[in-house]
Point group: C2
Chain length 144, copies 2
């Protein structure tokens, strides 16, 4: 299963960088993979707080940073300017409604193709991109 693959990537990363595989680290990544979509540090803190295996806020922060260094997750800022994360294999671009905060994920091939063209034009080697379009979603548009 795909999730197991990602967990293994993380374990390999930990081994590679002389870090240890603790149940807290596994648990956090597992929760992220279960949750899918977008998540904040606080989400995870709260989930573990209401379970028998509480994990401290500091550890969640440290683990998120590690997961980001490992290239497994990435962050962006939502319509409230709050930091939000997502799994990289689910990477897509975002339409963010300025009114209700809804986030519509999308990917578009032409879009990606043009980005590659732009990079080669500037002799730039791309690693990661983020495209966010802020506006008003259909639902909020029709409500007025």
């Amino acid at each position: 299963m795909k999730n197991q693959r990602i967990i293994n990537i993380f374990k390999t990363y930990l081994a590679h960088t002389g870090k240890k595989i603790t149940w807290e680290r596994e648990e956090i990544l597992t929760l992220l993979l279960e949750k899918q979509g977008h998540f904040k540090v606080e989400d995870i803190v709260k989930i573990t707080e209401s379970s028998k295996n509480r994990i401290s806020r500091a550890t969640v922060y440290r683990t998120f940073n590690m997961l980001e260094s490992a290239g497994i997750i990435s962050h962006f800022y939502d319509h409230n300017h709050e930091k939000s994360y997502e799994i990289n294999h689910e990477h897509h671009d975002h339409l963010i409604c300025a009114k209700c905060g809804k986030i519509i994920d999308f990917t578009n091939e032409d879009q990606e193709k043009i980005q590659k063209q732009i990079c080669s034009q500037y002799h730039f080697f791309p690693i990661f991109h983020s495209l966010h379009i802020y506006g008003i979603c259909q639902n909020c548009l029709t409500k007025d």
Copy 2:
């Protein structure tokens, strides 16, 4: 001159929203227009600190927020995750080097065209977009 036009937009905005035109507000916008490119709150604080007309950090923050509400500037996060601003009429997308932090500005018509297509596909009314591609610039690539 273009800068005067922007200053007038700001003045109109202030008048419209029952706010006052103070020398601090004019000075901050003038500095931004002179500086061009990208700037941080701290940049402006430092510039005024070393001049005869010091402006407090609180006022710079308040004015930046006001300028952003007025649609005159927008923010993004640089390669150090630090908040950075730019004038909107100079809006363009960014290639950000993860090594040296250099920011290459660009605009691309095809890119914008596709974004419009995507929005109409999702019945989404776009207001503002931000496209950042993180990677390694030519200079840093050849240095290794």
